[in-house]
Amino acid sequence: MTLRSLLDASDLTPTRRWPRPGHDHFWQRAAMSRRRFLGTTAGATGLALGAGMLARYPALAARASRVPKPIPGGTVLGGTLFHLFLPSDPGPGADPSVITDFNGAVGLAEITGRGTDGDGDELFFSVDNRFMQGEFIGLDGRHFNGTFGFF
């Protein structure tokens, strides 16, 4: 529901600042940039390292190679292509997997509901979660079996 709502959004500019309770020094540590955060992920490893370096460090190459590839298509939101199809009923226009070169089981669910925060205040949630479990071809072209979650 959240992502689907983006299709109709007229103004995608955040209009409020993120809540920032706690000490300033915490936020200095915690609010790392997205680029820095993503640069620490396994996915970044697979792309950032050249083939030559991976050949010299087999253990690193093995770790990086287990990274699956995104589906080539997807959904344009705010003028940018994101490699997923929005949740919908099964159909030819909506591959539920976000991993390509994949052969296995998938589950998709979009669910909404209510809950409470630590102060007992009522909040509302929207969940679009998916699992993918099976064979896939990693970034290095090798075949693996794995289980992945989309949140």
């Binding site: 993120w18 609010a31 997205r34 052969n103 630590g118 909040l123 509302f124 949140f151």
Partner: protein, 148 residues
């Protein structure tokens, strides 16, 4: 996994206060990470499945707009959930030449009960799964890309 102060997203998403996802990889892999194999029990033939994660490390981007379009500030977070797909709905076979995939799926309702916390001290606990509302849900088997 998104949290709002109102029942539906505001047009500018200004009522969204938390967005728990693992980020977008430089490859473009979208909000997806490896999870323990044993966390998933699935029965694609019947459309039933159960997915349970406990205290799973993730990031809180606070807003889908921040997550997708930046600046991308995020902090450490944890989520726990149990999702159940009940199956029993339509059996749907799909073959898409345009999107290079084929699959057989079984629809049916799904339900979730979950909790979350972040390193800033926020905590959330959903109401029981029986109160959640399923919009789209299915389980199946598929092949795409090189396996299509």
């Amino acid at each position: 996994m998104d949290i709002f102060t109102g029942p539906v997203p505001a047009p500018d998403f200004s009522n969204q206060i938390h967005d728990f996802n693992p980020g977008i990889a430089p490859s473009g892999l979208f909000w997806t990470v490896a999870v323990p194999r044993g966390s998933v029990e699935k029965h694609p033939g019947s459309g039933e499945a159960r997915w349970v994660l406990e205290n799973f490390a993730i990031r809180d981007f606070f807003s889908v707009v921040n997550s997708l379009f930046g600046p991308g500030d995020n902090i450490a977070a944890r989520v726990s959930f149990e999702m159940n797909w009940l199956g029993g709905g339509d059996r749907v076979a799909v073959r898409s030449l345009a999107n290079d995939f084929t699959g057989k799926f079984v629809t049916g309702p799904a339900a979730v009960e979950w909790s979350a916390s972040n390193s800033a001290g926020f905590t959330f606990e959903s109401a029981p799964a029986s109160t959640s509302e399923s919009h789209f849900a299915y389980v199946g088997k598929e092949r795409n890309g090189a396996f299509f």
